[in-house]
Amino acid sequence: MTAAPTGPAAPASPAAPAAPPAPNAEPVLELRGAAVRVGGRTLWSGVDLTVGAGEFTAVLGPNGVGKSTLVKTLLGAVPATAGELHLPPRDRIGYLPQRRSFDAGVRIRGTDIVRLGLDGHRWGVPVPGLHRARRRTERARVREVVEQVGATAYAHRPIGQCSGGEQQRLLLAQALVTRPRLLLLDEPLDSLDLPNQSAMAALLGRICRDEGVSVVMVAHDVNPILHHLDRVVYLAEGRAVSGPPAEVITSTTLSRLYGAPVEVLTTAAGRLVVVGVPEDRGSRGPCC
């Protein structure tokens, strides 16, 4: 949690300056005491999270704890049953769902996929000669964002013939093409090999820093993105803690969260490993 003292949608909060705040002073995303019920069962509750502009946040936790549901709540697809949510408008949120890869038979170019992120929701067909300026701007924007994610070399190939890492970059370009303020990613590193994982993590870190886009990313393993993270939300036992990774991914914090002794170990290579997680005993920890 940042110390941002802004009340929920309260412009007259005493701590808030009278002048319009600088873009990065106002949080892009704010949850207070959020809870979600799915099928009559409370999945998680009491989730507090504040994400500022250009911050990189990871959602961590064991399988089935509701990480993807948290992303869907932020998208507005799953309603929160309690708490307060302050989100950017839906057209300013980019979304990359859990994948989802195109198989080899999909004969649509990568640029077409990216372009759909820009105009795919629009009804009607483009009439030749009409809106020429807008279409030119949109084409330029598609080129720009494809270059930004480093996909220019293969964006004109059918997407089914691109590798998993290439497809993931094009899909990221699709999510970024509308210049969102908030980017929601659900396990984007899943099914990528290690070099691609770190390249994708570095790319996301750069997008946060350079473009000022706030990223909230569900991750199965925190290690590839650890160095780029500003903040983590750790979900377990229907509760959550959030804060900087160095404060959250510790033996004391996670033990308190799980209500059982949990240990966070650091390997010689600097990787974090969580051991002794209840219900997950014997298998690998959720964080590695």
Binding site: R90, L116, R122, V125
Partner: protein, 301 residues
């Protein structure tokens, strides 16, 4: 169908004279008009069908057209109306039976299969009940161009125009929803509703194509030109245009051949379409091997 005329027309290679001679018969003019409408509509709808992997739904709807036409004949109604009504009803049944919004899923194909079985059974019943001369169930199954009336052409054109207009309106969100349902839904595209709408469009297009190729050979105009186009280009707009052109070519060549030769229309159209598909496959295989685009010469007949 066989032209049992003793003075059977002979193909002269003078295309102008041939077409003049052919079009001196009103039924041939109507056949070409109907074929053109059908090829355009089926090409466009078929492109989306192949993209959405709903060819099985297309096949089932074409089978549903058979009992529709048989029932219309039994009740003395217009056959195209029977095709159309049955296909639209079949589309709604499939849309209602599929459990989740995703197209081409396992539940959808199971639900689609059950609809297909019961439709065929009903068609058989109606053909059995109709004891009179039913132009042969053969014509319903394999197509005919004889006896397409001007009224039927008008009905085809109106229904086809409607299908194209709706598709023009929903085409882009439909493309988005077909490729990327989760992201499209997140952007506010009504994915489920579009799925149902597309099944209805598919039903209408199937009913139209069934008039020319018959119930069983609907794929010749619905799926084969679209599949061929997708072999040749990965761009949406040229792909759609190519599917339409290929469908038109197959349809016109088929009509021409069926007029001069004693071969059934459905066979002619299907064979031309299939040959095009094989050539496209060959071209792509050659291009893939050499990395260039050599002209394929002497494809399989």
């Amino acid at each position: 169908m066989l032209l049992a005329d003793p003075a059977a027309p002979a193909f002269s290679w003078n295309l102008l004279a041939d077409f003049q001679q052919m079009w001196s018969y009103p039924f041939m003019v109507n056949a070409f008009r109907a074929g053109t409408v059908v090829a355009v509509v089926a090409g466009v709808v078929g492109w989306f069908t192949v993209l959405r992997r709903q060819t099985f739904a297309g096949h089932t709807l074409s089978v549903v057209a058979f009992p529709g036409a048989a029932l219309a004949t039994l009740l003395g109604l217009s056959v195209p109306l029977g095709y159309l009504g049955a296909c639209l009803a079949g589309a709604l049944v499939i849309a209602a039976l599929r459990e989740r919004g995703c197209s081409g899923g396992a539940e959808e194909s199971a639900a689609t299969g059950t609809v297909q079985a019961s439709a065929l059974a009903c068609g058989f019943l109606f053909v059995t009940l109709y004891k009179g001369l039913l132009g042969g169930p053969q014509a319903l199954l394999f197509g005919t161009f004889l006896g397409i009336t001007t009224d039927q052409v008008v009905l085809l054109a109106v229904a086809g125009g409607l299908v194209l207009a709706v598709l023009a309106l929903v085409g882009r969100p439909l493309l988005f929803a077909s490729l990327d349902p989760d992201v499209a839904a997140a952007r506010g595209v009504p994915v489920r509703l579009l799925g149902t709408a597309f099944l209805l469009l598919l039903g209408a297009a199937t009913a139209e194509a069934g008039q020319i190729t018959g119930s069983l050979l609907v794929f010749a105009l619905l799926v084969v030109p679209a599949a061929t186009a997708r072999q040749l280009t990965a761009r949406p707009a040229p792909g759609l245009a190519l599917a339409v052109l290929l469908g038109l070519a197959a349809c016109w060549l088929g009509l021409l051949t069926a007029y001069y030769q004693p071969y059934p229309l459905g066979f002619c159209v299907t064979t031309f379409a299939f040959t095009g598909y094989l050539l496209a496959h060959l071209a792509r295989a050659l291009r893939g091997r050499s990395g260039r685009t050599p002209r394929p010469t002497g494809g399989p007949a």
